[in-house]
Amino acid sequence: MTSIAPLTDSRIENYLSRLAAALAGVASEQRDEIVREIRAHILDSMSGASDPPGAVDRVLRLLGTPEELANRYATESLLTRAGSSFSPWLLLRTSWRWAKLGITGTTAFFLALIGYGAALGLTVAVFVKPFMPSRVGMWVGHGNLNVGILPANPEGAHEVLGRWFVPVIAVVAFAFAVGTTHALRWLIRRRSPNPAYQMPHATVSGAAQI
């Protein structure tokens, strides 16, 4: 190894230990592998540099903060798994992470929240209906539509589903869950190979910086 001044060396070690900490969610074998590769990258980038402290500044800046870098790894790996998954929980978690990286991700997250939220709410209503038949239903009146569990009948509105509430709403809830899952998978799969990743530090004039 080329000799690196102790101060520069400790900056690298500090970066790598923060990276390892930020990768806490990753399997330890893979985490070690990532840290090892980033260490090799830093050392290779610095080799032959006439100004090691300057060189270490530059390479760490281009990598982004350890937390950003770890987040990119986590997102790439979640997106890979989620694109072929039907698990609402995984899709929701993935879109939450993805939301931090750009507008498509944010859209996906709100879609997940609203879609799965509606499915969950309606499912709860279906299960509560047998116990509180008069409080659960679908009321229409005054141009309003209320579906779910209400403390009292909305004034002037009448319940329209009656005993059909359970089967109809169960189907609608299921349709919400399936529709949301498919829409999320579609969004995740159609993302550009490199989602809205923008390195906040690296600014380059006149040339494209990815």
Binding site: M1, T2, E33, I34, R36, E37, I38, R39, A40, H41, L43, D44, S45, S47, V59, L62, L63, G64, E68, L69, R72, Y73, T75, E76, S77, L79, T80, S192, P193, N194, Y197, Q198, M199, P200, A202, T203, V204, S205, G206, A207, A208, Q209, I210
Partner: protein
Amino acid sequence: MYMASNSNGNRGQHWEAQLRKGSLEMAILASLWQSRLYGLEILRSLSEKSQLDVAEGTLYPILSRLKAEGLLQSEWVEAEAGHPRKYYWLTAPGRRRAREMAEAWQTFAASLAALVQPVLGGKR
């Protein structure tokens, strides 16, 4: 990220950045077509051959995903530098994917070339 540096301003450059970004996965696979490379070599090859300046923090997570998807394989190799380096190469599915992407790219570029010809007309 982009800095506006000419009269086209952010908007035009943003468009170009999107285009380059979309081609990044293909560029990474293509850079490995002929030989095994480690991360820094891939970065250098991309910037020398295609003027693609890829941020380090973007490349490594993508390499990791491409490997997880089975398009790349990797191996640690001891180097005279004193630390081992992680070399990547294309798997058979990776080569297939690279070829498909390159073909799609060619078709796309050729079809657009005819369209933009009149736009560039005076200049050429």
